[in-house]
Symmetry: C2
Subunit: 317 residues, 2 copies
């Protein structure tokens, strides 16, 4: 950990960048990154100043063998100081496994598209909301359990096309009523535009107040950071992203490309918004992906172009 990164880590932040590469990124790659390399990658990401990392998914290893070591990965990540470790769970069975592995912060997708919901988690949206309730009930034995829900395909769906916005908000409210600590919106398949992002997050924040969650945006059509600017405008302060742009949803055909963490951090810092992340350390961590998945394509313009001459972090302005 560099001195700069350490300084970044202890400073206040304006926007929370939630790294999803070890989960969303790795699950979309056919090969499996070795568990030990995952551990080193997660440590390096935390050392670079990331405060929240989604480290794995508690799904059947038959569906996603890349995530079969999720329990070990969670256990390792939980030893890193000052890091919020998120585990994705598709249902209450996954949630029990995650809790058994030591996870205390879970995230669950509830898809607004019926077709996507069925193909992604084998349930209707209403059944998914019932699973939210069942997971919340686990608090009886694990009082410090937190559950974040993300409404998938909130901005459109590769299979269904446009998604009714009233329905998206209705689902978000239902998840909150069942006890989810926060509910965010996900552009799972790269359909969102800035006008829609402003409109839907404004409604979400108006309906859910402090329980309105972050934005999970994809760059499928190059619109990812444009949508971040729109979300920032209406007060969103948490964004998911994936280092080197690894990832996407394997069950949504044509959906690829989480927004790139390096490019997102650069955007925020250059706008004067503190992320706590050290970009040089973050870019260095890309080499660990290559080590664990030799030859895998890495994306991101900032890593390629480098920081511009005279670049200053928000905390130094």
């Amino acid at each position: 950990m560099t001195n700069t990164a350490r300084a970044a880590r202890t400073s206040e932040i304006d926007v929370l960048v939630s790294e999803v590469g070890p989960r969303d990124g790795l699950q979309s790659v056919d090969r499996t990154m070795p568990t030990a390399v995952k551990g080193r990658w997660i440590s390096a990401l935390a050392d670079a100043g990331l405060r929240e990392i989604e480290v794995g998914s508690f799904v059947s290893p038959k569906l996603l063998p890349q995530m079969a070591d999720a329990a070990d990965v969670v256990a390792g990540a939980m030893t890193i100081p000052n890091l919020k470790v998120l585990a994705l769970v598709p249902n209450v069975i996954g949630a029990k496994n995650a809790v058994a592995a030591g996870a205390r912060s879970l995230t669950m997708p509830v898809s607004a598209s019926r077709a996507h919901s069925q193909s992604n988690i084998g349930m209707t949206p209403e059944q998914a909301v019932q699973q939210v309730a069942a997971i919340v009930d686990l608090r009886a034995g694990t009082p410090d359990l937190r559950l974040e829900v993300g409404i998938s395909t909130a901005f459109g769906c590769t299979m269904e096309g446009p998604i009714d916005e009233d329905w998206v908000i209705e689902l978000a409210l239902a998840a909150a009523e069942k006890g989810a600590d926060s509910v965010g919106l996900s552009d799972t398949t790269g359909h969102a535009n800035p006008t829609q992002v402003r409109r839907l997050f404004t409604r979400l924040r108006s309906e859910l107040g402090e329980r309105s969650g972050g934005a999970h945006l994809h760059n499928t059509r190059g619109q990812g950071l444009a949508n971040v600017v729109a979300a920032l405008d209406v007060g969103v302060t948490t964004f998911d992203s994936s280092q080197a742009g690894l990832g996407g949803c394997p069950y949504a055909p044509g959906a690829s490309g989480n927004i790139v963490t390096e490019d997102l951090v650069y955007l925020l810092e250059s706008m004067g918004l503190r992320t706590g992340v050290d970009l040089e350390a973050l870019i260095e961590a890309r080499s660990i992906i290559t080590e664990g998945l030799p030859g895998e394509d890495l994306y991101g313009q900032v890593a390629e172009a480098g920081l511009p001459k005279g670049f200053r972090y928000a905390r130094h302005r």
Copy 2:
């Protein structure tokens, strides 16, 4: 020309997309696209609904042999109905040649960075402003001559780093005082961030009013469309872009990548802003680049991912 494209062409627009591929794009490629192919490409772009195209640069063919046929290209483009043909000129000599070729709308760069100004056009910024005055004087013999100035490196420079914003505005005012019809701002080297874009264009518009020009943004660090959203916020309605992301400034090391026209049009239309451009016809025109420059890299996420299911143009909303 498809019926859809023809309909698009005759409709009203909210935002003007100014295509710079045939100039900014082609001058950054080492090989030269044959003149006849340039002509067909420009026609196809106009058929797709683009109303303004920067077709060439009147610089010394020793410096940019790719632009040696600029006079022929301008003459051909001037025969296309309802198309505003722009020619780039670095000085009054280039302007005279452009006018002789039939061009009536010129664009001239005035760089805010002294180092970039010297390497790009061999003049100080003050000397460039004097050239603006000399070009405006050509109106004595050519009353319908229009001159648009773009302040290059307005948001930062690869060689000098940050550029003083007062100085950028001072230069823009000086160019307007010398008689430029409009003055825009260019992020020549991909330094701009949305906060800065809002701040500088707000000042420009406040100082120049109706003579404030458009935004020429690059995607060097992936921030191009994020900066477009910021510029739209403060009232900018003209944006330069390059089909397939061809281009950049060959004299600014590390600067590459105009924003991609296809991705820009998609952004604007999906936000409900009419561009008059037919995306399918635009994407088809990419094949002409490949014909003229076999093997050249083409960029753009929308062309790769395709339009999303249920996509609707702004004019159909």
